[in-house]
């Protein structure tokens, strides 16, 4: 195992983590501010990817595809909030889980009805395709490097939005005491719609960005959604900083665990058994990480509330 390979794997872990952050940020905002468990967040990721693939197919422009993904997911998010979610704020979490699970089924079948069951294609733009050589002689795909950069810029933007702007203050205040900020004259309904659309847009962006290197297909959001829930549990519910740290931890654990666990087991096991056992252990690695974090900090790394 050379140092170059290790650095490349760390970059892979970062890239995966940053994309998870885009998913987890919206999820944690919605959960933190509105107290709502939204299982349909993965569908918004899928909607983003399908909008991007459809627009890229029609126009050939990747930039337009990204704009479409952001807009499509944000509009879908706002509609869902106004038509369905609004009725669920006062209800308990079980009702929310049931209703948003139904939304997953509706979105999946609707997408299949519109686009068919076969995967769509969305290509990496020519300007970003192929590998580049980094200092030290590491060859790394330029597109993945761009994903890391985009993700970090979005994280910074989100941090500034929450901590420095007026709407950010309202969001943070809504997290702590929604009656009070309503009494202060903030239109809480509109605020919730905005937060929901923002979360949806982030998920849609992640779907479009990842869709270019993976397949765009119905149901693509569900595996990512599970990981995003793990991320916000690790990071602490409602914390953007926690979502970022949690996402990077999960990304790195997932990537490095998959590589190193079989290698370590090979030291004292038959190679074929080690690859098989190592692969199974690696799938569990992030859940073991989550359990470990919860034992040490029951509210997550940056969680304020119990």
């Amino acid at each position: 195992m050379s140092l170059l390979l290790l650095i490349e794997q760390v970059l892979n872990g970062l890239q995966f983590g940053v994309m998870l952050f885009l998913m987890a940020a919206g999820l944690t905002l919605i959960f933190g501010v509105m107290g709502l468990i939204n299982l349909a967040h993965g569908s918004l990721y899928m909607i983003g990817a399908f909008c991007a693939a459809a627009v890229a197919g029609a126009t050939g422009s990747f930039v337009l595809a990204l704009v479409a993904a952001l807009a499509g997911a944000a509009i879908a998010g706002a509609l869902v909030e106004i038509l369905v979610i609004r009725r669920l704020y006062g209800k308990d979490h079980l009702d929310q889980v049931l209703a948003t699970f139904a939304l997953i089924l509706i979105f999946s079948e609707g997408t299949r009805w519109l686009f068919g069951s076969f995967p769509l294609f969305l290509d990496v733009p020519d300007a970003l395709s192929g590998p580049i050589t980094l200092p030290g002689g590491i060859e790394y795909p330029l597109y993945r490097l761009t994903l890391i950069a985009v993700g970090l810029v979005v994280a910074l933007g989100l941090f500034l939005l929450i901590s420095r702007t007026r709407i950010g203050i309202q969001i943070r205040a809504g997290e702590n005491d929604r009656e009070m900020i309503a009494a202060l004259g903030v239109d809480i309904g509109r605020l919730y719609t905005i937060v929901f659309a923002l979360g949806a847009a982030l998920a849609g962006l992640a779907g479009a960005l990842v869709g270019a290197i993976q397949s765009v297909q119905v149901g693509m959001g569900e595996p990512v959604l599970i990981l995003a829930f793990v991320v916000i549990v690790i990071g602490g519910i409602g914390s953007i900083k926690g979502a970022l740290v949690g996402a990077l931890l999960v990304g790195l654990t997932n990537t490095l665990g998959g590589i190193f666990l079989p290698e370590v087991l090979k030291l004292f096991m038959e190679p074929s058994v080690a690859t098989s056992v190592g692969a199974s252990l690696a799938s569990m690695a992030i859940y073991i990480l989550m359990a470990a974090v919860l034992i040490l900090k029951p509210t997550g790394l940056f969680g304020a509330r119990a």
């Binding site: 390979l5 590998p131 795909p141 290197i213 693509m220 074929s272 190592g278 692969a279």
Partner: protein, 378 residues
Amino acid sequence: MKFFSLAASAALALGVVSAHAEPFKVGMITTLSGGGAGLGIDVRDGFMLAVKQAGNENIEVIIEDDQRKPDIAVQLADKLVQSEKVDVLTGIIWSNLAMAVVPAVTAQGKFYLSPNAGPSALAGKGCHPNYFNVAWQNDNLHEAAGAYAKEAGYKKSFILAPNYPAGKDALTGYKRFYDGELAGEIYTKLGQTDYAAELAQIRASDADSVFFFLPGGMGISFLKQYADSGVDLPVVGPAFSFDQGILQAVGDAALGVKNTSQWNKDIDNATNKAFVESFQAEYGRLPSLYASQGFDTANLLLSAMGSADVNDPDAFRAALKAADFSSTRGDFEFGPNHHPVQDIFVREVIKEGDVYTNKIIATALTDRADAYAAECKM
């Protein structure tokens, strides 16, 4: 209770004449939603095309969606057997689902015709007289890929597959015919779509070729990322990642790749020509190997229905075993463990006009049965 069952069997015996009016019921459990839906839809469409062409009004197909989840597949099988009283089951795509459903179904005396999954456990010690596989034993296409790799002179392959029964069968099958060294051997997660870590390992190894088995969307992701990673080694694989349903999504990344299959649209026989044409006319797309497997499964069933009564299991079993139907693959017969004996070809991905497709360039294995037949006692 005893009286009841006596009365029931008497009614059955008396009802022989009217039994012909009862439709022959087929239960199809396949994957119609979620990530693996394309495969199940192709099997269903191929199967229903054959049923439609046969014009046999006496057959009723009940189609259910397993969502690629073993627990749902088991529930559906119970429902089809117990309340729908189907005579034959078919349709399962994934080996882990087949392992959950097939042994239970055949133990209840029903017939199971597999149009896809062929796990080694059901070909060897776990074989059953009522279980027929119309596609292949899982190892087969990978064995052919290994034979091709040996023929092409590859000495150091990097091999990877998902961590589930068919993935293990795949790597075992490849290694059975490939005799070079391995530069690396990895099991990935089933359903994984990001292969950055695996690609970095391939790049860091000194492999001279890559063999992978990643069906459905997994293969699309892998190939696109492979093309983008700058790794430039020849790729060999089974048809599953280079098939009609997904080639358009993979695009240029797949051009020129060699893959192994028991079927292709250019196999030169009348049945296959008619199948390709009628499938295109009916559904507006080219058929995949899954569609051909669904089509052959239905035709096998129709041939058995024509010569034996399913209420006489021994006769019906013999009629299935005879495989007296004309297959899209040309030569086809069952071995002693009810798995196919057939040729497996090497295909190359090409572009015909705007459409990515395959053409056969060689035969990798002739009249190949499988490695587990000797373990099967029935």
